[in-house]
């Protein structure tokens, strides 16, 4: 290993992208991941990655991509970093192409692009309908090459527990938990990049996220370690997912960009509601709007398809070979998990919690408020404002590595204060103690049942429609649940791969995450992007064009606000019923 080392926590797209950038600059990386990095949750991204290459002469450009990203985010994102990302996107897609990602091709052999939500341009490069999987594989392969060169050490099946701080308060390593052996080990380093994804489990298992990953735990430990949070109240609900007993599975937006139409029965006729309500964008309205429309149709108007909690997503009019080439992976998911043929029968879909626009606050170099701690990917708040556009997440994850990697590589070249043995031993001891308390508890509470209650509360009260009175009661119930975590008793007291013990500690973290979301949502009396309050149905730029900031205190989050950098594009009303707005 080189003399300078950075710890990367998270082996998804943002973590692997950061790792590659660090290695390329001669910095060694210790890469920690909950699962083998090739199996990270980024594999579930389906539709594609945005880059304005304008292959059809439609007049698209990185500047248009930037403006649509800001508009899609309802003007809550800081504009300079979002603009840089959009300008870098073509280089990123070309780089992934050079890495061997099997992107779909035009007859001439060039990259093919499709449309996506919130845009009228063909901007999204894709590899079938498993683009995230193919991107992860390409990066995993590049990281494996660096591993063979001795620049990367992987720690798979390890969980991040706590930051190590030096005498100047800088992040200087981590305490990790080896999950198979349950050992707690300190790993000093020169800096830390955290790229641990989103908090899907805060909303229970009925999300598009995995019920075993997306725990939200790592960012909460970082928050408790002094890192500031931003915009936690902005959580995206994806309009089209399928039900399942373990999770809801996403049916990609690309199904609609390839011609899929959404409808339900109304007065005995097929009602193509998006096409009627939004003639310009039709089925490709942004996700926040689409999810609210569907839920309104099903819940308030009682027009669910076949009397169920769903509407139709229909591709049965499209040529089957074309569907197989461009959407095969996602239609296979529908076929396998629903046991129905999506090529000939309309699919039944309903919205599900999908993505967090908020996360750790970072500066434009992706450093958090803890010096030496960087955050990339879904776990930061940087580009998506109040609502993320489809196919911008693979882009932002990869781009974050291209920002955090080089900046961290430069940061570690300075002389850093020594990290004392006492500080290291103390950090390990505190984690050991927390586990001992849990193992020795004779309490009667069950961590999984507390999780289920939290998930239900959050799903019912804090997703597409929010109401201040309900938020107040939700907060007090979350605090009751948090108090109950102290009485969790383990059924499993063994000291090898004890998944119950790990889970029990994460539930406590998740309740803290839930509290952050509710407190921030309660305070924001307006409607913007994914945050919608019927009491305050309009966006209120005069009072709320500002980023929510939250700092940890033992009593709960302390909120403050930061103005949004709107230096590049003047806020305007968001409309998708007309073109060129």
């Amino acid at each position: 290993m080189p003399e300078k080392t950075v710890i990367v926590v998270g082996g998804g797209l943002a973590g692997l992208s950061s790792t590659i950038e660090l290695c390329e600059r001669g910095v060694g990386v210790k890469l920690f991941s909950y699962v083998p990095v090739r199996r990270s949750h980024s594999v579930t991204a389906q539709g594609g990655i945005n880059a304005s290459i304008d292959p059809r002469g439609e007049g698209d450009s990185p500047e248009v991509h930037f403006q649509e990203t800001i508009l899609g985010g309802d003007f809550l994102a800081h504009q300079p970093p979002a603009r840089k990302m959009c300008y870098e996107a073509p280089n990123i897609v070309y780089l992934l192409d050079r890495m061997g990602v099997p992107f779909n091709r035009t007859p001439e052999g060039n990259l093919d692009f499709r449309g996506f939500g919130g845009t009228l341009y063909h901007r999204t490069a894709f590899a079938g309908a498993t683009t995230g999987q193919q991107l992860i594989y390409a990066l995993d392969e590049q990281v494996r090459r660096y591993e063979a060169m001795g620049l990367v050490e992987k720690y798979e099946y390890w969980s991040f527990q706590r930051l190590l701080h030096d005498s100047e308060g800088r992040a200087r390593g981590i305490v990790g938990l080896n999950m198979p052996t349950m050992e707690l080990v300190a790993f000093p380093a020169d800096a830390v990049v955290i790229a641990t994804g989103g908090p899907g489990l805060v909303f229970g298992t009925k999300t598009t996220n995995s019920p075993v990953l997306n725990t939200g735990s790592a960012v909460i430990r970082a928050y408790e370690g002094g890192a500031r949070f931003a915009n936690p109240e902005f959580v995206q609900v994806h309009p089209t997912a399928i039900a399942g007993a373990d999770k809801r599975r996403l049916i990609s937006e690309s199904v609609r960009s390839e011609g899929g139409r959404m409808w339900t029965w109304k007065d005995g006729k097929k009602w193509y509601f998006f096409e009627e309500m939004y003639p310009a964008y039709g089925n490709l309205v942004p996700r926040d709007i689409a999810s609210r429309v569907i839920i309104d149709i099903v819940v308030n108007q009682g027009l669910g398809a076949e009397g169920e909690k769903c509407v139709y997503l229909d591709v049965s009019h499209i040529d089957a070979q074309r569907l197989r080439d461009r959407l095969g992976g996602v239609l296979e998911i529908y076929e396998k998990f629903m046991g129905e043929d999506p090529y000939h029968r309309p699919m039944k879909v309903y919205p599900a919690v999908h993505y967090s626009m908020g996360g750790l606050w970072v500066d434009y170099n992706l450093m958090t408020t803890v010096p030496g701690l960087y955050a990339g990917g879904e776990c930061n708040f940087e580009y998506h404002g109040a609502n993320r556009l489809g196919a911008n997440s693979l882009l932002s994850c990869f781009y974050d590595g291209k920002v955090a990697g080089p900046h961290a590589a430069e940061y570690v070249q300075q002389a850093l204060a020594p990290l004392s043995d006492e500080a290291i031993a103390e950090a390990v001891r505190r984690e050991e103690e927390a586990f001992e308390v849990l193992f020795n508890s004779s309490g009667e509470e069950n961590a999984y049942l507390i999780q289920d209650e939290m998930g239900k509360l959050m799903e019912e009260n804090v997703t597409v429609v929010r109401d201040n009175k309900t938020l107040d009661t939700t907060l007090s119930r979350l605090r009751d649940l948090a108090a109950r975590t102290k009485a969790i008793g383990l059924k499993d007291k063994t000291r090898r791969m004890n998944q119950e013990a790990i889970y029990a500690r994460e539930v406590r973290d998740r309740l803290r995450y839930a509290e952050l979301i509710v407190v921030a949502a309660r305070a924001r009396d307006e409607s913007r992007g994914a945050h919608y309050k019927p009491e305050f149905p309009r966006r209120d730029d005069e009072n709320w064009l500002k980023v929510t900031l939250a700092d940890y205190t033992p009593e709960g989050p302390k909120l403050s606000y930061q103005p949004v950098d709107i230096s590049l594009l003047k806020p305007r009303e968001r409309r998708y019923d007309v073109k060129d707005h």
């Binding site: 091709r105 052999g109 079938g128 090459r145 599975r249």
Partner: protein, 250 residues
Amino acid sequence: MPPKTVVLRVRRQAGPHEKAYWEEFEVPYRSQLNVIACLLDIQRNPVNRLGQPTTAPAWDASCLEEVCGACTMIVNGEARQACSALIDELEQPVVLQPLTKFPLVKDLAVDRSKIFEDLKRAKAWIELDGTFPQGPGPRTSPAMQQLRYTLSRCMSCGCCMEVCPQYDTSRSFVGAAVLSQVRLFNLHPTGRTQAEARHEAVSGPGGIADCGNAQNCVRACPKEIPLTESIAALGGEMVIHGLRKFFVRH
């Protein structure tokens, strides 16, 4: 009439050196249940079928959409992903066992790091000059993209290794998935420049010659990757590679 409950018979083993035993569980039936949802149920209420309190079995999982390969185990005798194993399509009791060709970690969880080590041995990557802008990659026909995409959907799940009579972590054979990855990278215009190094890597012990042509792999692959076709194609490439080497040397 759907059944009221689901009975699962799970092979338990607390660690690689502990004794294995069977334990049965019963969870309430509901529609859309898969094996993972049953395992999640057991976590919430770890009581076995005899009504005795016990511990929940340990298992590995990630995406639960059959694109990551993590939750591979043996379900009713067949190596497959537990997420896409729907209860409605399985006979009861549903028998769950860990993969047998990899070192056991605990219960249903195994250590498949050999797969990743073998991918390293096979240099399964494209040699890039760096991440700095160099324009797009080489042009590729749609037909070649579809072939490469088909091969690139391999999840390194281990199903093909589980059913292979030649594969075992105590032996060096890399298995069908890794050989197919060699083919994948040798098909790429840039990857081809390293084809010889990959051929070297899979020509010695543990390489392509260890394949016994049982053809179980291709039947076991959940992604329908043409593994035997890959091995045959790679074998053809390597004959040419061997001849070339022979003539260069002599």
